[in-house]
Symmetry: C2
Subunit: 325 residues, 2 copies
């Protein structure tokens, strides 16, 4: 590879001039600009990013930590994060943490090693003591002890919206079904606000909360349904659970949505150009990605930033609720 020195020699100028050409061409006389340009093309010169990063203390890249990219919610989020970063001239390093805190720590170390400028993280493991409020870190759906910026969708609204929609669709007996996450996060609000809304609207309700990790859920769900035969509207913690519940109901000979309606949560799709897999409360994934990136870049550039960003969710009609208008 040609270096700046090679270009300078060929163009008959100093290295400083070549550097200026790369960073601030307008400060050069037209004739030198031409000479340098010629030499650069001739030698197919590319500035070495490592030398640059060393000098500038800047990598123009950020890491995204998620449990697994092989999951439609996280891959949608990653998709939009990468797209947004691209707009700002940043690159994305991807980390599938699989909820292993050691792997997460590795990336936190990389911020200190100057290998990435900051981190966006969807984490559930116990890294609280490593995440300092002075490091460029934006958390999704999770509040750390230290004063770390976080972005979340409005999980409280999600529960209310689900209840309201099911009631509007004629349901008389509601149920919530979900797992109990090991680490607390904003997501627990989905259940509480759903049940609260049902109560306020004076509709009968019940709930099934299965401790994680979930096994034999099929059995537990069937048992729950059989012991609450009047349930006609279900809200699940996420779309996956919704799909599982639907399967159970069909195994029991119930028709969805005719006998029982289900609303999931997240709004996952197989890919961008596909439909949601069921009726659902959709998280504003694109907006969450954009806000996360913008917040992180503000922190990196030492600008003031909102510590807590909550974004609204929406109801999306799928094939597991009756169509009303």
């Amino acid at each position: 590879m040609a270096t700046m020195k090679d270009v300078a020699n060929l163009a008959g100028v100093g290295v400083g001039t070549v550097s200026r050409y790369v960073n601030n061409p307008d400060s050069l006389k037209e004739s030198t600009k031409v000479k340098v340009e010629y030499a650069i093309n001739k030698l197919d010169y590319q500035p070495n990013e490592y030398a640059r990063g060393l000098k500038l203390n800047k990598t123009n890249s950020v890491a995204l930590i998620i449990p697994s990219i092989w999951h439609p919610f996280f891959s949608e989020f990653a998709y939009y994060v990468e797209r947004t970063l691209e707009n700002y001239g940043y690159k994305l390093l991807l980390c599938n943490s699989e909820n292993n805190y050691k792997k997460e720590l590795e990336y936190i170390k990389m911020v200190q090693q100057n290998k990435v400028d900051g981190i966006i993280g969807i984490t559930y493991s116990d890294i609280d003591k490593y995440v300092k409020s002075n490091m460029p870190f934006v958390s999704i759906d999770r509040h750390f002890k230290e004063d770390v910026t976080y972005v979340t969708s409005d999980n409280e609204q999600a529960g209310r919206l689900a209840a309201t929609q099911l009631i509007k669709n004629g349901c008389k007996s509601l149920a919530y079904i979900g797992g109990i996450p090991v680490y607390e996060s904003e997501i627990t609000k989905r259940a509480s606000s759903f049940l609260k809304e049902a109560k306020e609207q004076k509709i009968k309700f019940s709930s099934l909360e299965i401790p994680e990790p979930i096994d034999q859920w099929e059995e537990k769900i069937e048992e729950f349904i059989l012991s609450h035969p009047d349930i006609d509207g279900i809200f699940t913690i996420n779309d996956y659970m919704g799909l599982d519940v639907k399967q159970c109901l069909e195994n029991l000979g119930k028709k969805v949505p005719d006998d029982i309606q289900i609303i999931g949560c997240d709004g996952i799709k197989l890919s961008k150009d596909r439909q949601v897999i069921m009726s659902t409360i959709k998280q504003p994934v694109e907006e969450m990605a954009i806000k996360s990136v913008q917040s992180l870049l503000k922190i990196i550039n030492h600008l003031p930033v909102e510590k807590r960003i909550v974004l609204p969710v929406t109801y999306i009609q799928g094939d597991t609720t009756k169509i009303k208008d």
Copy 2:
């Protein structure tokens, strides 16, 4: 951040000694080792990766170019690529190219800029003239003009396997349905080998090939089905198309798999712990990822490497074919 110099000062040794501690501790006397170790911990020293990269001409990171991470096939592939790279101590930069060759070129430039050590690419755009056989590049499913290493699943076997399976399941009239890709790739073999196998086994067959980009496919598929009323076994170019075909058939009042059986291709799943979405010919995604990474690292380290790696596919039973044994 503390630098090597700080550590050297605190430990009362030269910077070279600290460097040796980091890279080859065994070359140090036990007593100096202890001193350096103490200073490193005391200062929470992390080597600056940029200075290191500048010196060593090595980044320990590779870029993955895919059309979009928000797609179960690509996200599965990315998942395994990241996992494999992790094992070898490499980081992953992710690029959603959206088939835009400009974005792909950006990453190719990064190899020359020393920002990544190599690229694994699933590309369909016209970058043939930029990909040189002397750059660390591994291509998936696509053969370049230059002698670039590529990894692919056995698409020929896929077509044969699908035909064989449908025939074994009692089908008497087969059909292939797929789009015609704009850029040629290994994938076109799926159709040809399927039809060839049907012919060799003396089974009636027909095919519907829709030029991409596909619009009004629904109409075209229905028309095709109606004009070939005896079709009872269909192989589709991929699982997405299979899902669409299934939908069309159901709209026409046909039962899947009772009236018509469908086999898709790829073996996509919503996520790791979910089932395939239909009966399918599964690509060995994990093996493809591992082979790609291993090949790329060989190229980076100037070791000899196989230019063409073809991996076997398998049939996976889902809910769109009858169960036979």
